[in-house]
């Protein structure tokens, strides 16, 4: 069983998770929206899988960055789901996915502005108080900023400082953003509140033009992202669970296993005497 590296639970590989022939992730991640309030076949399977692995949650619909009020029905259901499966990490995206009372089912960038920070801090505190656990917010990939008046890292750090939330550092997102917005990903990592990182994501992406990468989660992780990951975890003052994300173009199990083992080996290299903390 891995010590640090986990993987997103996929229905395509449900039996593999149960039989543990190849995969030995240290945890599994799911989007709570896809598993809350369901029954039947997949509920049975999920219960069995959750008995074998710790579960982390990576939400899609909280929309922490929009003007809309929090959806308390959703949060109540989420809290009960967290309790039912003894979830230790609930992460979400530092983005918005709902606007003017309409869900968009995708992650849109928030304007990097001081007033947006205040609003997000207030909502984050409400979520944390209600769930009685820290919210872990992900540094998202984005293809254009919207009406920015501050730097991205200032925006993120201000939210982390003022809300006392935790950070989900998606190393691939930082690489993608560095490429798309022409900044140095290593410098960006150095500017973040690394002591607040509680969770790490790694994924592949697709370059669609000379100056644009789309964060598809549909390709293998490339070496420069592994290099950035290797660098990043050496800067962290503590360990954190690391997730391999793959949502499209799902490869053979052996390829997934190769990537998962590679991540685990990098963690072991730097953290071999540590235990995982989140």
């Amino acid at each position: 069983m891995n010590q640090f590296a986990g993987i997103g639970f996929r229905k395509d590989f449900a039996n593999e998770f149960l039989e543990k022939k190849l995969l030995q992730p240290s945890f599994i991640e799911v989007a709570p929206e896809n598993w809350m309030g369901i029954g039947g076949y997949w509920k049975k399977i999920f219960k069995q899988v959750a008995e074998q692995y710790p579960v982390t949650l990576h939400g899609l619909s909280l929309s922490i960055g929009s003007a809309d009020e929090l959806d308390w029905n959703f949060l109540r259901q989420l809290k009960s789901f967290i309790k039912e499966y003894n979830v230790q990490v609930y992460s979400e995206h530092l983005s918005f996915s709902k606007c003017n009372n309409a869900h968009l089912y995708d992650l849109l960038p928030i304007p990097f502005r001081k007033e947006a920070v205040k609003h997000i801090v207030q909502k984050t505190k409400q979520v944390q108080d209600f769930l009685e656990m820290p919210l872990v917010l992900e540094v998202v990939s984005y293809y254009t900023a919207i009406a920015p008046e501050m730097q991205e890292h200032e925006f993120i750090n201000a939210i982390v400082d003022e809300s006392d939330c935790r950070l989900l550092l998606d190393v691939n997102n930082v690489y993608v953003n560095g490429f798309n917005h022409k900044y140095d990903a290593y410098e960006f990592i150095n500017k973040l509140r690394l002591d607040k990182v509680a969770y790490i994501h790694m994924a592949g992406h697709e370059q669609v033009s000379e100056d644009l990468i789309i964060d598809t989660h549909g390709q293998p992780i490339i070496d420069p992202v592994y290099d950035l990951f290797d660098y990043t975890i050496q800067q962290l003052p503590h360990t954190a669970p690391v997730l391999l994300e793959r949502d499209f173009n799902i490869p053979e199990m052996e390829e997934m296993l190769f990537e998962l083992n590679k991540l685990e080996n990098i963690c072991q290299k730097h953290w071999k005497h540590e235990t995982v903390s989140a």
Binding site: Y41, K43, A102, L108, H119, I146, I214
Partner: protein, 251 residues
């Protein structure tokens, strides 16, 4: 009136979201040229893919341009309420139900088809419902029956459950009853077409808790069929429902 700084941030978000929903040109502050269309494409693809997956028969029935127009209008004008993307397709059914759309005239079977396709998802995914306590042995005709609670009884005007959607015509118009339930062990969704008599009996068993024998007298009067004939026909019908685990046992 001067906008507050927070209003500016949210105004930009709203314009951005509206653009992603409609594709209508928008001017936003501080964006990188030519990047906004990627968001419209990504957002629309999620909606389109989810709806195509939920409604493969409807997708096959409509022309490409009709489908695109439907999805575009739905997403552009309807505020999707479900935070679970797998439930969003039901909102398309409601949207078609509640709006005057030319495709409803062209395809009178459309609403039935959408609901039929949605019910398969709903029954497959719905939360578990515990059945009432039961005995495993008893008499199907004379005992009170415990039904599988994870079911719907659907009435349609068109035979969307057995005929290809593009071959259905006005001549097929009638009343069709479809029992849709979830097999307890496998979670598989089963569809059974019921006659009007058996649809009535199923509904009565469920709501009154009376045995088929008790119900047969009233059924005979309602449908003008000899009681003995109803009892004889019911035996094989009930056997099938028992074998398929729609009837789970006896009170």
């Amino acid at each position: 009136m001067k906008q507050s700084a927070l209003d500016i941030a949210f105004d930009q978000e709203k314009k951005f979201a509206d653009y992603c929903r409609t594709g209508n040109f928008v001017r936003l502050k501080g964006t990188t040229p030519n990047r906004l269309p990627h968001y419209r494409k990504l957002v629309f693809n999620v909606i389109d893919d989810t709806l195509q997956t939920a409604y493969p028969l409807t997708f096959g029935l409509l022309t490409k341009s009709e489908w695109k127009e439907l999805v575009n209008d739905f997403f552009g004008t309807h505020n999707c309420q479900s935070y679970q993307v797998w439930k969003m397709p039901y909102e398309l059914y409601e949207y078609v139900l509640n709006n005057d759309l030319p495709i409803k005239e062209k395809y009178p079977q459309l609403l039935n088809l959408l609901l039929f396709e949605w019910m398969e998802i709903e029954v497959f995914m719905m939360e578990d419902i515990e059945a009432a306590s039961l005995k495993t042995s008893g008499e199907l005709i004379t005992d009170e029956l415990i039904l599988n609670p994870e079911h719907f009884l659907l009435a349609t005007e068109y035979p969307v459950h057995y005929k290809k959607a593009n071959e259905i015509t006005e001549a097929d118009k009638g009343i069709y009853y479809i029992l849709i339930f979830r097999e307890p062990q496998t979670g598989k969704v089963i569809f059974i077409e019921l006659s009007v008599l058996f649809a009535w009996l199923t509904e009565q068993i469920k709501t009154t808790g009376r045995s088929v024998y008790q119900l047969s007298k009233e059924a005979s009067e309602v449908f003008n069929i000899p009681r003995q004939q109803i009892l004889e026909n019911s035996q094989s019908f009930l056997n099938e429902l028992y074998n398929q685990q729609f009837i789970l046992g006896f009170k």
